[in-house]
């Protein structure tokens, strides 16, 4: 019971992206099993909060809110039951849980009121202060979070509990840019957790082969694993921010040694690597969590090899980067069929739709306004290389594909003469081209293109 209270707050201050992992499918299954098999209040509450966090991690906010609302309902009911039973310690802790769940739902007034109510009864309880700090951090009330976390640390507790409170304080301090104290605290947490004082716990973890990371952990093993993971991730990020790449890499490497599919550590390693190593880390990071908005933003800032064999969201991003919007749309549609509630996929799909229209519109605009283009605009157009997915009817002979006309992004085109390309292409391929002018194709306007390169679609 002790750590189940603490662990709720362990991850509350961590950026959500950090908790993202498709690799946590296992954790989701575990939580769903827990909800089905364990009917007691704390198991149910932990299950709902964990599932909510995992849904957030997958960018499924509507499903996450449903889980948090169930957690709040559970806590509200149990706190009233506790009150009727005159069980005031339980009433206070349930009230704090309810406040925390309200914070998860973004209801600051209710969260504040509930947590203040909990404190009336148990202001001597560091767990309540820790939950308070976690809730305030969720609500971006960082100074309140720091103050509450300081109270928890001040009151103290057993070594693992105290490490949790210190982590919450460090996280809150980072939110207000007080990095020095935060780093000292995080380093102490990691060093304490790795010390012989926790040897028995480490043995127990090894014996059980435990590895799961939860935002709401039950039991010392889970708390230990989650805390060590999060503290090291935070510490690594601090080293990285300070520009100490070697130390940052070493810290993230340690995280991966314990859990090789940690999405945040993999993304960090990608950031801190180059060349093939960087692409390998990206592939692993996307495999672990394809829906991390942080990872996606980071990936899109960089240029990646055109011939990379990528999959899923990463493939869609590559296709978008190459201007292959139709292909990206197909990729995303397939993913959306599998993850219909995913906001990241929906957002990317909207972006592709817009980009497709823009690209198509641009080509149409060139076609319809060709005669009105100024000399400077013509020069600029001559120097520009377009890339798009071309659709065509081709003939094939001697290992070559001959194309004369087709459409790019829905706009008709024609080459000045039938052009043979090495290789066999059926009806669609990626075409790089220059625009030479406007011509006629089957009696309608069409772009006259100079083909530069034709590549098979992945």
């Amino acid at each position: 019971m002790r750590t189940s209270v603490l662990a709720i707050a362990i991850l509350c201050c961590l950026p959500l992206a950090a908790q993202n992992r498709m690799a946590t499918d296992f954790e989701m299954q575990q939580m769903e099993r827990q909800l089905a098999q364990k009917r007691d209040f704390r198991s149910q509450l932990a299950g709902r909060l964990n599932l909510g966090d995992l849904r957030i991690a997958r960018n499924e906010p509507a499903l996450a809110r449903a889980e948090y609302a169930k957690a709040l309902e559970l806590a509200q009911k149990d706190r009233l039951d506790a009150r009727k039973d005159s069980s005031f310690t339980r009433y206070a802790s349930d009230t704090a849980y309810a406040g925390f769940a309200a914070a998860k739902l973004g209801d600051r007034a209710q969260a504040f009121a509930l947590l203040e109510e909990a404190l009336r009864y148990t202001s001597d309880d560091p767990k309540t202060w820790n939950l308070y700090a976690g809730a305030m951090a969720l609500l971006r009330e960082s100074r309140k979070a720091v103050s509450a976390a300081r109270n928890a640390v001040y009151i103290g507790g057993e070594p693992l509990d105290l490490a949790v409170y210190r982590y919450t304080l460090a996280s809150a301090l980072l939110d207000v840019n007080e990095r020095s104290e935060a780093e000292t605290l995080l380093a102490k947490i990691v060093s304490d957790l790795r010390s012989p004082a926790f040897d028995d716990l480490k043995k127990s973890i090894a014996k059980k082969e435990a590895f799961e990371i939860y935002s709401t952990a039950s039991g010392d093993e889970s708390t230990y694993l989650s805390l060590l993971n999060r503290a090291q991730l935070r510490l690594g990020a601090l080293h990285e921010t300070r520009g100490d790449v070697a130390k940052a890499r070493a810290t993230f490497r340690t995280v991966l040694d314990a859990r090789s599919d940690d999405a945040m550590a993999l993304a960090a390693m990608a950031r801190l690597s180059a060349g093939e190593e960087r692409e390998r880390y990206y592939a692993e990071a996307f495999a672990a969590n394809p829906f991390s908005t942080t990872l996606i933003a980071q990936y899109r800032k960089e240029t990646h090899p055109a011939d990379a064999k990528t999959r899923g969201v990463q493939l869609a991003l590559d296709q978008m980067a190459r201007g292959e919007y139709r292909a990206a749309q197909t990729t995303l549609d397939a993913l959306l069929a599998k993850f219909p509630h995913n906001d990241v996929l929906r957002s990317l799909r909207r972006e592709v739709e817009t980009a497709r229209n823009d690209a198509s519109n641009e080509l149409r605009r060139v076609m319809t306004s060709w005669e009105r283009l100024s000399p400077d605009e013509r020069v600029a157009l001559d120097q520009r290389t377009f890339t798009a997915v071309a659709a065509f009817q081709a003939t094939h002979a001697n290992g070559q594909t001959v194309i004369e006309a087709g459409t790019v992004d829905g706009v008709p085109f024609r080459f000045s003469e039938p052009t043979a390309f090495n290789g066999t292409f059926t009806d669609r391929a990626r075409l790089a081209f220059h625009i030479l002018g406007v011509t006629q194709q089957n009696g309608a306007d069409a772009l006259l293109l100079e083909p530069l390169k034709l590549e098979a679609l992945p």
Partner: protein
């Protein structure tokens, strides 16, 4: 149907409504507005407390760190941004003192807008005043800091027990309530010296003092422990008299019992009100019995007035006389 009822119960309003009795009538802070005596003005986003002075009032927003200060006579108001988590305040004359818990500070705001601030110990939770002297109870270390307003500096500090749930003073003594230990600890203001710990019920949470009446809300016992009509309860405390009454439970059979666990108690003259924050139920009570006044009232959304009680419920202010 059961499900719907359950959800309705959960929907009990928990915040953002405050009611207070002022010299110009009942003040209500709700939905971002403040209404008092026929005057309506902008309020704060989350009304979490009200401080009432002679001709002034202040509505606190502990979440957004704002204070709306009202001159009730001139009907003017201004909003001030203050330090982290203003949870309590008092007026002495027209000067407002605000306790900013998470900044660990006590701030002074004069009628002319002049401001000053001093640091307190950790987790300052309660602010009281008597005879022009402020007393701040800091929950984590268990300090009571005495701060005369003329110097606005900590003059003396009493180290007592941490984590009290309520702190009241009566001009002579101070009283701290400890739910977990089921104790009241008192100290003398003149000497800032502890008197002694006294057992008090099962889980005492809230204390009210008025004249010669002392009332202690004990939600676990579903009871208000009360003493009245004795010489004075401060003398009773000093003599250990109350300890005997509360500790041994001699008053048990004569004190008011409630169907639910009340955790707040208000006393004004002969009027006594208790409140169960879990169900939002307001009771009036005497030594002999208790009766429900209203249900579904948010914490802070009620106040005793000169002749009764006022509470805000379902978007309406209700005033009721209490005999």
């Amino acid at each position: 149907m059961k499900r719907a009822l359950l959800l309705l119960l959960f929907a009990l309003p928990l915040a953002a409504q405050q009611v207070a009795s002022t010299s110009r009538g009942v003040l209500v802070a709700h939905d971002g507005v403040i209404e008092v005596g026929g005057w309506k003005t902008d309020g704060v986003a989350n009304a979490t407390g009200v401080v009432v002075g002679e001709d002034r009032a202040a509505v606190l927003d502990a979440i957004a760190n704002r204070v709306r200060i009202l001159d009730l006579e001139k009907r003017v108001a201004e909003t001030k941004t203050v330090n982290e988590t203003p949870i309590a305040g008092v007026f002495i004359g027209s000067t407002l003192y605000i306790l900013e818990r998470d900044a660990r500070a006590l701030e002074r705001i004069g009628a002319d807008g002049a401001r000053a601030s001093i640091q307190t110990a950790a987790d300052p939770a309660f602010l009281r005043q008597a005879n022009g002297i402020l007393y701040v109870y800091c929950r984590a270390p268990g300090n009571v800091q005495e701060i005369p307003t003329d110097t606005f500096a900590v003059r003396r500090t009493l180290l007592t027990k941490p984590f009290a749930s309520d702190f009241e003073i009566d001009g002579t003594n101070g009283y701290l309530v400890y739910p977990r230990a089921a104790q009241i600890r008192s100290f003398t203001l003149a000497t800032m010296a502890a008197i002694e710990d006294q057992e008090a019920g099962a889980v005492p949470v809230d204390l009210a003092l008025a004249g010669s009446t002392l009332a202690l809300a004990d939600p676990s016992a579903k009871r208000v422990w009360m003493i009245e009509g004795e010489q004075s309860f401060t003398q009773a405390f000093a003599r250990g008299f109350l300890r005997g009454l509360l500790g041994i439970g001699l008053l048990g059979n004569r004190d008011s019992a409630f169907p639910t666990g009340i955790d707040k108690v208000l006393v004004r003259g002969s009027m006594r009100v208790a409140y169960d924050s879990s169900s939002g139920t307001l009771y009036r009570f005497t030594k002999a019995d208790a009766a429900v006044i209203a249900t579904g009232v948010a914490p802070g959304a009620f106040a005793l007035t000169p002749d009764g009680i006022a509470f805000w419920r379902n978007g309406m202010l209700v005033a009721q006389k209490l005999n």
